[in-house]
Symmetry: C2
Subunit: 477 residues, 2 copies
């Protein structure tokens, strides 16, 4: 018997070719150097693990992240009302308009965001046409602020202006509120940058017919526990970012009687019922976003916690917030989604990633819960059922824990991967997967596709460096 050479190859791939050509059998291990091989980050990760410990040697960061995870699980978002934004959002005067993503000035905005701002200015009656709106916006008299600075979120461009009705979701155990506008339906809509008369008329109908009827149903029925709706819908094939088919129906189910009564005898009643009870399959997206925002806000500012409390994009920059680094944005240019485009469109038409909607992935649904929604994987062009399961299994590696409150039946009832830990993201190189709609890069065109996207890796690394800088050497030992 000869002693045969046994070869395992890992890391860089320069040796593969050599062995592949030889007769020597070799095995390639699926291993990558931690933190992409960045020595400073590897050192920071190691020191955070060894130095940030208490007297007993237990990790202060792990403990803080468990606290964050506990708060996440305790969260119970209840839809209480639908009210005009200025009534419930502090600081929303007539000249302030809120947008998705990290802060950005009018001059720096992408096409669809500019289109949406023009639309919002017209909707509020601050200008009577596009030219007037653009002049006003260029004058600097309109304050442009991120939704996240006002406890709010909005999909895609994310517009919230003074008169616009917003869902008021209260995280009952903590008492904090979160806000999101009412979903406008599909087609020509302001969230994708459209702003013509039909868009404004639709928003006015939501303001005067739909929102008051939902509000009346909520006052009548005492609110809707949206965590229950999310758990039911996850078991019905929705991940609640790109698929809200079941969730929209389950929400209607929760208010059906009161909603019918509120609209009884109203000539617009039929249209309103059709809109909520099925005509608009993404209706629940905005409720999922408000729920996740309400759940995630109490996780902000936990000392030593490396959990991501928000991921958000303004169409130019992708920004994240991290619990222990509350008040700071880590930003870098948005990536373009890997998408399936609608007929007639291609990647050349796509605006980079946009919207506050990635708050749902912070909680653990959307791209994190792809395993619950194999049909979505096809819709966004990312494979079959096994791929869906694989996405969710992979996301478990960067989450603090599986969340047993939202089990995925098709994956033997494992919980969704909740609370993204930037340490694990940086160490493994696995980025959170976000399911997203894709807007045309020009104002006024609308949606051109749907796909998946990740944050740019550098913001995760930069946030971890900042965290290490803040905490290393001061970990209390």
């Amino acid at each position: 018997m000869t002693n045969k050479l046994q070869v395992a190859v890992l890391g860089v791939d320069v040796f593969d070719a050599a062995f592949a050509e030889s007769d020597t059998p070799y095995t390639r291990l699926d291993w990558k150097p931690p933190a992409g091989g960045d020595a400073k980050l590897v050192d920071a990760l190691f020191r955070l693990e060894t130095e940030c410990v208490d007297d007993k040697g237990d990790s202060l960061i792990d403990r803080a992240n468990r606290e964050a995870f506990d708060r996440l699980r305790k969260g119970r978002p209840v839809l209480k009302r639908v009210r005009p934004a200025h009534e419930v959002i502090a600081g929303l005067d007539k000249e302030t308009i809120l947008h998705a993503g990290p802060p950005i000035a009018w001059a720096d905005m992408c096409g669809p965001m500019r289109g949406a701002f023009v639309g919002a200015v017209k909707y509020e009656g601050l200008a009577k046409d596009d030219a007037g709106a653009e002049t006003l916006l260029a004058s600097g008299k309109i304050k442009c602020r991120p939704n996240h600075h006002h406890r709010a979120v909005g999909p895609m461009t994310g517009m919230i202006s003074h008169s616009m009705p917003v869902f008021v979701v209260e995280n009952e155990p903590f008492g904090n509120q979160a806000f999101c506008p009412v979903n406008e339906g599909i087609g020509k809509v302001m969230r994708f940058g459209a702003n013509d008369e039909s868009v404004i008329a639709n928003l006015r109908w939501i303001e005067t017919v739909l929102a008051p009827a939902i509000d009346q149903a909520l006052v009548d029925g005492g609110g809707v526990d949206l965590k229950v709706v999310m758990a039911q819908s996850l078991a019905m094939g929705d991940e609640m970012h790109q698929r809200n088919v079941a969730a929209s129906l389950n929400f209607h189910k929760a208010v059906a009687g009161g909603f019918h009564a509120a609209l009884s005898g109203n000539p617009e009643g039929r249209k309103a019922v059709e809109f909520v009870a099925g005509g608009n399959e993404q209706f629940f997206l905005n409720l999922a976003m408000a729920s996740c925002k309400a759940i995630m806000d109490p996780l902000r500012g936990i000392p030593y916690s490396t959990v991501v409390t928000a991921m958000s994009r303004n169409g130019v920059d992708f920004g994240i917030n991290v619990s222990d680094l509350e008040g700071e944005w880590f930003t870098a240019p948005c990536l373009k989604p890997q998408a399936l485009y609608f007929p007639g469109f291609s990647e050349a038409d796509a605006n980079p990633d946009m919207g506050d909607s990635a708050i749902v992935e912070c909680f653990g649904i959307g791209g994190m819960a792809m395993g619950a929604a194999p049909a979505v994987v096809r819709f966004v062009g990312a494979g079959g059922a096994e791929d869906a399961y694989r996405y969710t299994r992979t996301m478990r590696e960067i989450a603090v824990g599986p969340n047993p409150d939202l089990p995925i039946p098709g994956m033997d009832f494992i919980g969704i991967p909740s609370a993204i830990d930037i340490r694990r993201v940086v160490a493994t190189g696995i980025m959170p997967v976000i399911n997203t709609g894709v807007a045309h890069r020009l104002p006024g065109v609308g949606q051109v596709g749907a796909g998946i996207v990740t944050p740019p890796m550098e913001i995760m690394r930069r946030a971890l460096s900042r965290f290490a800088e803040k905490r290393l050497g001061k970990c209390g030992r």
Copy 2:
């Protein structure tokens, strides 16, 4: 080198112990003798395969079953109306009451079936109390007929009487109609044998409020394609026998606007909307049954086809119909389901298997499509997600084909196993799995659990013997 003994064991298990105790490695193959080792059936199966062929040697039976499968796939059940039974069901005079399962006389009925008959007699005003109803039924003046003899189906006891509103489902490409009563909700209901005043009052409310409003919505909107609803709901975690959560919502979605309009200003409107839009999660079961009945009826009477066109139980006997043996029932005593019982109940309380609902398994949903509904597997006490997938994979072995019109996303979009072939059932010993509710054996108590059940094997064997007797020696060669 020694020549080692390699052993494979199959069939009877008497050798296992001997090898298990020896050092000789052995492999047990998962093989059973065909047709349970019944030499006559094995011979019949063999002769049917070799003798029932055309000039080119192609199987007449396979061809007939492909024709059956094609008709099944072509079926498009559309809900047209909700009308009083006597208006649409031929021969349903005031003294005729239809029931689930194969034919049975009053004297032979099980407890819950008797309870339901007493209720139906009271509902029709033919007697004013239970004693009067029982006297009348015992007198033989009430004609008791199987639903299946009137193109109808009903869940559990399956009562259809003169005034009762029924769904009218038309299989448009074929023009045949099928009928099923409106689901009564859960709790104390006639289908489980309850018959007190609350049961009668609920049926009256369905007759006077709910059914006319759904009918108006249907006339208004032009009918609902129930195949579309079934396909959508299968992708949302329903198998549509024990779980109709998504299907009920999807049905409401299809009629939402017209249903709202029909009930606008009606003081009972709110209750009716709540009933259909979510309060009754099994609402769609009856629509699934009518759809499958409408789809399966054109498969009756195809010469040489060994496809099961109905499986049906009256609480005493389980009966099946087979395409080529149209007009004949093959019956044997019903089995008791393997069930999870509600608190306070046990198998001792259970009535044997009952209802026409197993028509859905003939089409390929319900127990056949368990892989689409892992949550149901838990509800009926039959395991986890992998078990759900395994059930459906196993059912593929006895079905003519996977039906691509109803794909299961969680199983990489494979189609449901459609059209049960008695040859394969007998050859493999694999029985169709039926998801079912379980009634208390006494009249008036109601549902006590839910579980899975199969037909008794002997009716499959008897049907195959009869088919062989009819066709062997006369196969046209």
